[in-house]
Subunit: 363 residues, 2 copies
């Protein structure tokens, strides 16, 4: 007998490696390779006397207002949290309390499963099709809620807005969460649907398209009614989560639309070039609407490529998981980083081919 | 039938009012009246190129190291989170998984009850004695865990270290959390006991004695074994909670021991003066080891005093709760703030007495 018998048993999450060093190319955690808005740095310290010592504004009004203005919403349609992980966990906790299973794809963001276990929510993982696309019909049967990453991760595939609408409209008894962490890199957001469907909530983040993973800010947008339930739950557990400097910095970043758009455009252009290079080297992949590509090679095992690259200071993501064990998720870096990445990758592909493993095949 | 049937029902927490304005004296949320270390502001922006766009260090090593050095611990004995609320919630989730009820006082920090409800943990609130002191013997029977605020809030009373040790040593089968949010204002910390008792965990915060409520940082200290369980649980749910600038700023503040000590001494001195003034005005109170006093008046209803003060721009805390409905919790402000507070309070006391309600009574 000891205190240890009551300890919660968990499977610790393995985040993408965070190597620190000079000669490293880090394409493994979908961070943005460019800095955030120039307004961020001064905003962090543009704080009135006495503001540090006081509790933050629990409503984070400044930030909520900046988001509402940017997307043409009312402030009551916006909820903010400590990264989209915090926002998503709070959504699960608030809305997934039915007895029926919550639905999400078998290959998707791994935390959906974790939060279900954490909050004791039953769930069913619906297999993606053989091309890793969502099958809309899987989400039309009775359920306790739905969560879809769109574009999906780690696949990058986009479900068209018409299919999202089919799912949302067929599920008036469930809350449907559309997790749009990567939507700004080429997808069409479900946001316009929130005025039509009270059960839809759209989640976005500052970590990808706004280059602020280090600042931990995410947000949800939905009907005033839905957001109100979410606020009530959040305030009842922890009133003060976003710090004063971060609220200010994120508000300033949100208002810098021009920087945001240029940032996204650069990454989309680089992604286009990367697709051509991968194709030339014989890799196969579906179209990506995200800031990463999910690639496989018909002849070269993903794990070996992963380890070869890592040995040369280039980090991409390899998941030791069923169905995707032969895939690599490669974040889009700067043009210079991608150039160096492809030089090293090309060297590997040619070397292996020269040893005779290089029979031509196609995707 | 609708999505609303599965919404979590909660009683939203009512945080202390956060009025913003020029002519306000805010003694209602136990904030520190003085600014934090001068090292905080530059640290917020002393960030290498590219740090914003990258995920923060999930281990917050810089901050963990500063805390470990300050308290003479190993880094493996320290856990950090987004304010002590986040740390406490994670402790409840990790360690309170037995079938027996968790124990805490009936009059204490109101979130203990909230987290138990949130995580479906059974609990029993043990009544404080008639002077609002903890009865050690209440915590010696079988239980699923214990959480004690020491000094307690909102009473300010300190349980001597010898009594804490009695409780910890009698409960080898439970984790005992000692929540020391206010310990730096005159209490003796249970920290030296963590090397002796593996089931003890001590929680502290940057929000009070370090003047950083707006930055949201708290921490737990315990045996390496206990902290390891806590880390595993935390990483499995949400790897990145503390942002990069806040990690840096908190580490810098923790290293500024001189500022910290002077800050605490000023408040303790002002508390001594405030005790004398309250006594002169006929208020009753137990000794406080915190940055607030919990006072009652034998003739004047607390709620009326509260409203009178608020009408004059002075905010103190009144709880509409059994046993403490006739008490006010008054945060210790600067000497100037307390001077103004007592002038207004004195005016009220004399006015009411002159109307004949002023029969002398003693505490």
């Amino acid at each position: 007998m000891s205190w240890e018998k009551n300890v919660r048993r968990v499977v610790p999450y393995t985040p993408g490696e965070q190597p620190r060093g000079e000669r490293i190319i880090k394409l493994n955690t979908n961070e943005n390779p460019y800095p955030p808005s120039a307004a961020v740095l001064p905003s962090l310290i543009d704080i009135g006397k006495g503001e540090f010592r006081r509790y933050p504004d629990p409503k984070a009004e400044d930030l909520v207002e900046a988001i509402a203005e940017t997307y043409g919403l009312t402030k009551k349609q916006v909820f903010v949290g400590v990264g989209s992980d915090d926002v998503l966990a709070m959504l699960f906790l608030t809305f997934f309390n039915g007895g029926k299973p919550v639905l999400f794809p078998d290959v998707t963001y791994s935390f959906y499963e974790v939060w279900c276990d954490l909050f004791r929510i039953p769930y069913t993982a619906k297999p993606l099709d053989e091309n890793f696309h969502i099958r809309t019909e899987d989400y039309l049967s009775p359920n306790g809620g739905i969560v879809l990453a769109n574009p999906n991760a780690p696949t990058g595939s986009l479900l068209p807005l018409s299919e999202i609408e089919r799912i949302v409209s067929a599920n008036a008894d469930s809350v449907v969460i559309v997790d749009e962490a990567y939507i700004d890199f080429g997808g069409e957001s479900a946001l316009p649907l929130i005025d039509k469907y009270e059960n839809l909530v759209v989640v976005q983040t500052f970590s990808k398209s706004r280059s602020m993973a280090g600042l931990r800010v995410g947000y949800a947008m939905g009907s005033e009614r839905l957001i109100r339930f979410l606020q009530d739950a959040k305030y009842s557990f922890n009133s003060y989560t976003l710090s004063t400097p971060i609220i200010r910095a994120a508000a300033a970043a949100m208002r810098d639309t021009e920087h945001f758009q240029q940032n996204c455009q650069k990454i989309v252009r680089t992604r286009g070039r990367a697709e051509r290079r991968f194709r030339e080297l014989g890799f196969c992949f579906e179209e990506s609407a995200a800031n990463f590509l999910f690639v496989t090679h018909p002849l070269l095992p993903a794990r070996q490529i992963f380890e070869y690259l890592r040995g040369r200071g280039i980090y991409v993501r390899w998941f030791d998981r069923d169905r995707i064990r032969n895939y690599l998720r490669v974040t889009i870096g700067t043009d210079e980083e991608m150039q160096e990445f492809f030089e090293v990758l090309e060297g590997y592909v040619y070397k292996v081919r020269s040893y005779g493993a290089g029979e031509e095949t196609s995707c």
